[in-house]
Symmetry: C2
Subunit: 556 residues, 2 copies
């Protein structure tokens, strides 16, 4: 049964299906925050709308509201003052469950069409999402636009494409005809129905609420599951806008808007545990600390858990033919969003005897100092620096920086910067600390925020062994290697596969180890403690549905 929204977005879906199979560059959502693309007044309109939304109730009409919650504060230094519906959890669950049967019956094509229409409408609101993301995550505006906007939309579409592809592998019907010796064959007509698992709970993170949330939301929706979005209490607005757009689209398309519900809470009265352990919740997607991930694994045993937790991303520096490019690239990776990315390098391993470069031998200290200088240069212009650094999302991160400085020898001190436009903004430059190789308790634990450790090792073999050992034991989402030696590269590629970590080799230009491109890069593998799932592979979507069949003998 063709659905008009499926037909409307068919080319986009086909493009996505092609892209996840071939894994080249592809995106239907322009990442350039240009008025030519998004409308000449789009930026100004979104900014005005954001400012007008402050200190007011967020307009979201959904069932089971018992009051208001919402205590978001912009890392740029002011309270948002926006309030959201405070949910009665029982009523939210009931509304979610009630929406499920008709959504299942709508079928694969209709659901994909509606998901793509939601994404298309979200894309049009990219500037609005950008301001919401900027003032909750603390990202610089351009990063907020791209990461919370088109790049997150790409990840959502990727999940729809994977879900569509997996659901399409089962035919709708089959004729089963078994030979029966000399008699007539036994014939059965079979029908196969894609059936959803149950309610999908998406527990958001404060740093990348949409980029980490959309894959789960759209994987759930596409496979027939209703979604309850529980944002991080510090970053509700980007997901509230998303839920609002999704509900409007569903309603217009003739479906129950309660297929997507917001469950916001305040930090002092968290509701995630109650939601997660409800028997109706069959799928949980969580991004955040490993402590709560473990709690979910032990307590929400009725649900399938997709969790991205924490890890220690490493860089192994062996040798380079472009020392300047290497240091510039690393300086940017360490500075971007003040290291508050789950893909930011945390520990750099360099042989204590130094490395070979195009300009000859460099000592360990040359490399360390070179990196510090590259960071200084990158952040030399404060106006540009604040755009790269953004703000510190959580004040607790600042205390961590102070602690880290005492763990070794400070190669580059962290400093607060004043933001030219926002008086109270928490801007902080990266700290680089040289740590003795024996103090592995320091550099094999995640220090979230603008902190990196540089560690002198016995050799590159020692570096690789420590980097991959840490990934296996503590988890890692990214790893980087700089080497001009093909044998070292081969070794590292193999060791990284063994440790289940994505490896970037010799990045010197405009691509950074932190970046993960939808349709091509797998974000996390699910094969080390950093995550039990990957964005997006088949394992991310396949467990969200199953197949129910019926069979009936064919009349003779």
């Amino acid at each position: 049964m063709p659905h008009p929204l499926f037909d409307k977005h068919r080319a986009t879906l086909d493009g996505a299906l092609q892209a996840i199979a071939t894994r080249g560059y592809w995106s239907p959502y322009p990442e350039i925050a240009s008025g030519k693309i998004y409308g000449e007044t789009a930026n100004a309109d979104a900014k005005a709308a954001f400012e007008a939304s402050l200190n007011k109730p967020f307009d979201l009409d959904q069932p089971g509201t018992t009051g208001r919650v919402g205590k978001e504060t912009s890392p740029y230094g002011f309270a948002l003052g926006i309030t959201y519906p405070k949910p009665d959890i029982g009523k939210l669950i009931a509304a979610s469950k009630a929406a499920m049967p008709a959504w299942r019956k709508a079928g694969v094509d209709a659901r994909a069409g509606v998901c793509l229409e939601i994404l298309a409408r979200i894309n049009k609101q990219s500037f609005a999402i950008a301001y919401a993301a900027m003032h909750t995550t603390g990202q610089g505006f351009m990063m907020a636009f791209q990461a919370a906007g088109p790049h997150a939309q790409d990840r959502g579409l990727e999940a729809v494409a994977f879900a569509y592809s997996e659901m399409s592998r089962t035919p709708k019907t089959a004729r089963w005809e078994k030979p029966a010796g000399r008699g007539d064959p036994i014939k059965l007509d079979k029908t196969y129905t894609i059936v959803p698992r149950g309610i999908g709970l998406v527990i958001g993170v404060s740093t990348f609420p949409t980029w980490n949330g959309y894959p789960a939301m759209f994987a759930d929706l596409a496979t027939g599951n209703p979604v309850i979005v529980k944002p991080h209490p510090a970053a509700i607005l980007p997901l509230a806008l998303t839920v609002k757009i999704a509900r409007e689209t569903l309603k217009e398309a003739g479906f129950d808007p309660n297929l997507v519900l917001l469950a916001a809470d305040d930090p002092e009265a968290p509701i995630a545990k109650e939601l997660a352990t409800r028997p109706e919740v069959a799928l949980i997607d969580y991004t955040g600390g490993p402590g709560f991930a473990d709690w979910l694994a032990r307590n929400a045993t009725q649900a399938t858990l997709f969790a991205e937790k924490a890890g220690v991303n490493t860089v192994v520096i062996d040798s380079t033919s472009d020392g300047k490019g290497m240091l510039q690239n690393l300086a940017f990776s360490l500075s971007l969003y003040s290291g508050q990315m789950c893909t930011t390098p945390k520990t750099l391993f360099v042989p204590k005897d130094g490395i070979e470069t195009e300009a000859g031998h460099q000592s360990f200290d040359d490399v360390a100092r070179g990196l510090a200088i590259a960071i200084d240069k990158l952040l030399g212009d404060p106006a540009r620096a604040v755009e790269i650094l953004g703000c510190i999302q959580n004040p607790a991160t600042l205390a961590r920086v102070d602690g880290a400085a005492r763990e070794g020898q400070v190669v580059r001190a962290s400093a607060a910067l004043e933001h030219p436009s926002f008086a109270g903004a928490r801007v902080q430059t990266p700290l680089l600390v040289k740590v003795d190789v024996a103090r592995d308790k320091v550099y094999t634990e995640e220090t979230f925020g603008p902190v990196a450790y540089i560690v002198p090792t016995a050799s590159t073999a020692d570096s690789l062994s420590r980097a991959m050992g840490t990934a296996k034991a503590k988890g890692a989402i990214t790893a980087a290697l700089y080497s001009t030696d093909a044998a070292v590269i081969d070794q590292a590629v193999d060791a990284a596969a063994d440790a289940g970590v994505s490896l970037s080799v010799n990045l010197t230009g405009g691509i950074y180890v932190n970046q993960s491109a939808a349709f091509s890069d797998y974000h996390a593998t699910g094969c080390n403690p950093a995550a039990n799932a990957s964005l997006t592979d088949a394992a991310f979507v396949a467990p969200r549905f199953h197949v129910a069949q019926s069979r009936v003998p064919v009349a003779a």
Copy 2:
């Protein structure tokens, strides 16, 4: 890199890939226990070999053996007296882990080729597996041959095909080329590696050790994970033979035989909990009671759990145009292997005012009595009866039959039968009990074994609601419907999809609701409490591996 075993079995793999996509009838392993197919002396040789193996140590050369275990007793009335290696679990885990890296590096094709070679060799040993299954599960010989032999092999191959298909969706390499305005595009070369999750633990069941075990074993192996097989202490032999064949094949193919290890135990010293909670164990497949499945979910949180538990399969009788065929079909379903199948109907719902048939109206009691008579007729010849019934696997099942008879009005009494060939065999015919509709505690709980309840309901709508409500609340793997009314059939198909249960409609000939054909029928859905996984869908294989990638800039 083409592997000779991949080339050798390529046609079989292609056939399986085609079959899982089109879901028609297909099987490469003949289900007919014929000397013409398996060799004229195959049966006699296997029987002699089985008898010669009794009261001796089972010859299995594997590391970490600290003694002997094994206390299997044939349900046909004699102790097997076979002993197996008693494992040092630490050493077993270490050997399993050590085998993993080379198996990952062998790649998708080589692993598939080796898996298919193992299956081909198991197929040749189908008679040996049949005697082992018969004298551990208690199945009649022909059923043991088919279910533990070719049908289990089909299920194993199906898992390999699904795994191969899922692993093949990611290309080995990709060129990523992102436009960069007027500058040169950014180019990265990417490589993708399939990486396994870790050790796969397969916890066997006493009734269908190979049929339920092979999908997990071969899904794990094909996706690069080593396997430790922990058989049920009452049914070790079929899996020990399997492990032996797998180890021999791996060794001959140049791989570490420790990729497949046996971890046998005695009932009084179970080792499953210790194995399941080892951090190296990443995948657990379990078939058995819901109590231990829940324990695994709460305690083995480091692993992904695929569990088939228990449920209450139902039959809704609304109307029929072939009353005799219906009753014969149901009589066989209730009698086969004395109801010790997870697919056996347990509760039959019939309107209290009776049903319409081709021979006119029949009262509830007519239907109930008719079914009792059909069972009597089916089992009238004791020599034939024991082949259908097999033996009661677990003596505890007999006590359950006595208890069930006191729950309502006995329509057909259960009786012990003497086996013409085995003096001590536990043969027991099915009990049929009429239970009042209000006593739902009785008929909505699984009574494993030769027990069925027949329940008078207000109407077919009431029957359907109770049947599907039970499936949702307590789980069900199968459901059956008899109706001549297209609207009732449509309703039931929809309600069964909603309850996540497979529905068979109007089976009257040589296909029974208990039967599930590989490549076409999904066994369990994973969408109700009977199981959290399905044999075999994408969700059964996709979480067993992930993708690790590396990327490197393309030199300008």
